[in-house]
């Protein structure tokens, strides 16, 4: 029997002087920050400021791009995930990701959600059933799809597809969930549902979310990190990170204030 794991207190990241280069171009440089467990951290900033690049460092998806090099140290619960010995495949079972565009696999809802657990060797039908139900429940989709789990995931609406993807990521029981503008391709009602889901999820996982939408960051996050790229010649950097409330009411940096009040970006 698979028990509902609680990762309370686990899933904290510490970044020390992280930089990423693509070929000869440095995309982000000198990012140091702490990401708290069981909280929602929003990465905000104008487009092209390296938010997604930074996010992809946390589950080493940059590795898959071929020409990306990550320097600095990234610790997950104190363990260096860029250590030579550290297996990125294993990291990704602890750090899940939800993408900008819903990307369900061309299979049934059930098979989508059971995909990760099956890779991990869970085969028993009752265990998988329980995991699928729990994951879909946490992704706030269970009620809508419990009667047609055998339905092809492509037949769902965009918002439902994205929640299948959230359930799919949750099914491996990750400690951290990375979300790269998960609502940007969705309508307002679906966005609202995703945001509600996120608020409930932080009980189980640490959430790092990239968003363009400052209102969204203000609504859903506990911590906010503001990133900026001042010119194309220079790499992007982290301006500041702090409590979301403070960042939005009394930011420490003039550039943060300018961005938040809509003077640029």
């Amino acid at each position: 029997m698979v028990t509902a794991q609680s990762h309370a207190g686990k899933g904290s990241f510490d970044l020390h002087d992280v930089s990423v280069t693509y070929g000869s171009e440095t995309a982000i440089a000198g990012v140091s920050m702490h990401i708290e467990p069981n909280a929602v951290t929003a990465l905000i900033g104008p487009s092209g400021c390296g938010k997604s690049t930074l996010l992809r460092c946390l589950n080493r998806m940059n590795d898959e791009l071929g020409n990306a090099k990550v320097a600095g140290r990234i610790l997950l619960d104190g363990v260096d995930v860029y250590d030579k010995e550290y297996d990125p495949v294993e990291l990704r079972t602890k750090v899940g990701q939800v993408f900008q565009k819903p990307n369900p696999f061309p299979m049934t809802i059930y098979d989508n959600v059971a995909y990760g657990p099956r890779t991990q060797g869970i085969r028993k039908r009752s265990d998988l059933d329980a995991l699928v139900e729990r994951s879909l429940t946490r992704a706030a989709l269970w009620g809508e799809v419990k009667k047609d789990l055998k339905k092809h995931a492509f037949e769902l609406s965009g918002g439902q597809q994205q929640r299948v993807c959230i359930a799919r990521a949750l099914a491996t029981e990750p400690e951290v969930l990375l979300m790269d503008e998960p609502a940007s391709s969705l309508d307002p009602i679906s966005t609202q549902q995703i945001e509600d889901t996120i608020a409930e999820l932080k009980e189980y996982v640490t959430i790092v979310i990239v968003t363009h939408n400052m209102q969204q960051a203000a609504r859903i996050s506990d911590k906010t990190a503001f990133m900026l790229r001042e010119s194309m010649e220079e790499p992007a950097f982290l301006v500041e990170v702090g409590e979301t409330r403070t960042m939005f009411t009394n930011p420490g940096d003039k550039r943060t204030e300018a961005y938040i009040t809509g003077r640029f970006g």
């Binding site: 990701q97 993408f99 990307n103 061309p106 990760g116 890779t119 990521a169």
Partner: protein, 281 residues
């Protein structure tokens, strides 16, 4: 303009069919279609000739199906490697090799077969002669590989990167991602690739004519000599009386071949179109 091209393609196809049927009219009238396609003996030049297509159909089927079975695993593996694992440089080199393989004239494949494959088959399987269905199939397997590799590579390439990323992000290796997500997503394209390879194999003439020994009888095994549909038409058409029954029978045989390849290609195209539509979300 596009519509014009579409119609002209249909008109040309219909014209080919009508032309073949016209050439075969005498055979269809005197022998009958059913007798032709179910007759089990092919003795076209004896005093009371027998025109049964069955040995030829079996000959073509034996060579084609064996070629597909030999070519598919290797071609598919090559397509997967090129699409999913190879770096850019390797990809370019491999693609130009494959294009080159497709450009080699089939008579050259036949010569290589005579020089290399036939002696090898004779030796390896301890036979009196290496001119048999197996030799033909082995060489055909190479000839259809470019078709299977390039079309299945296209199908794999068309699978959105989103899906690969999604699978990798769930803690799957590249290999797991390939066989659990990418291959199933491209399955209909891969199927179409195999079918187009099959169409190419059935229609291939020169190499099989040179390699299969051309005995027009129902073979007991793959190590016996066979005669294919195409080999028969090519070998006999030059020796027939103009307007004679034998010539007309060969036209009918051509019509049968045309129908088979047309059907295979049609189904393959329908499958490919379905595959393309899948990602147009």
């Amino acid at each position: 303009m596009i519509r014009l091209n579409g119609w002209s393609a249909i008109v040309i196809l219909a014209a080919i069919g009508i032309f073949l049927a016209y050439g075969g009219a005498r055979a269809l009238g005197e022998v009958g279609f059913w007798t032709l396609v179910t007759g089990s003996e092919w003795y076209p030049t004896i005093a009371a000739p027998r025109f049964g297509f069955v040995p030829l159909l079996i000959g073509s089927a034996a060579v084609t199906i064996t070629a597909i079975f030999l070519s598919m695993p290797v071609s598919l593996a090559a397509a997967v490697f090129i699409s999913e694992f190879a770096n850019k440089r390797f990809k370019e080199v491999a693609k130009s090799i494959i294009e080159f393989m497709a450009a080699v004239p089939s008579v050259v494949y036949g010569l290589i077969g005579i020089a290399v494959v036939v002696p090898w088959v004779k030796e390896a399987f301890n036979l009196d002669s290496g001119l048999n269905a197996m030799s033909g199939a082995i060489v055909l397997a190479f000839m259809i590989a470019p078709t299977i590799v390039s079309i299945s590579e296209d199908a794999l390439h068309a699978v959105p990167n989103d899906l690969r990323q999604g699978s990798l992000a769930l803690g799957n290796t590249r290999w797991q991602t390939t066989y659990k997500v990418v291959l199933p997503s491209a399955s209909s394209g891969v199927l179409a690739a195999v079918m187009l390879g099959m169409g190419r194999a059935i229609g291939e003439t020169m190499a099989v004519l040179m390699l299969t020994g051309n005995a027009a009888r129902i073979p007991g095994s793959l190590f016996e000599s066979v005669r294919t549909i195409t080999g028969t038409i090519a070998a006999e058409m030059g020796n027939v009386v103009q307007g004679g029954l034998h010539q007309s029978v060969l036209f009918t045989l051509g019509l049968v071949l045309f129908a088979i390849t047309f059907l295979i290609n049609l189904v393959a195209d329908l499958v490919l179109e379905k595959q393309r539509r899948r990602w147009r979300r």
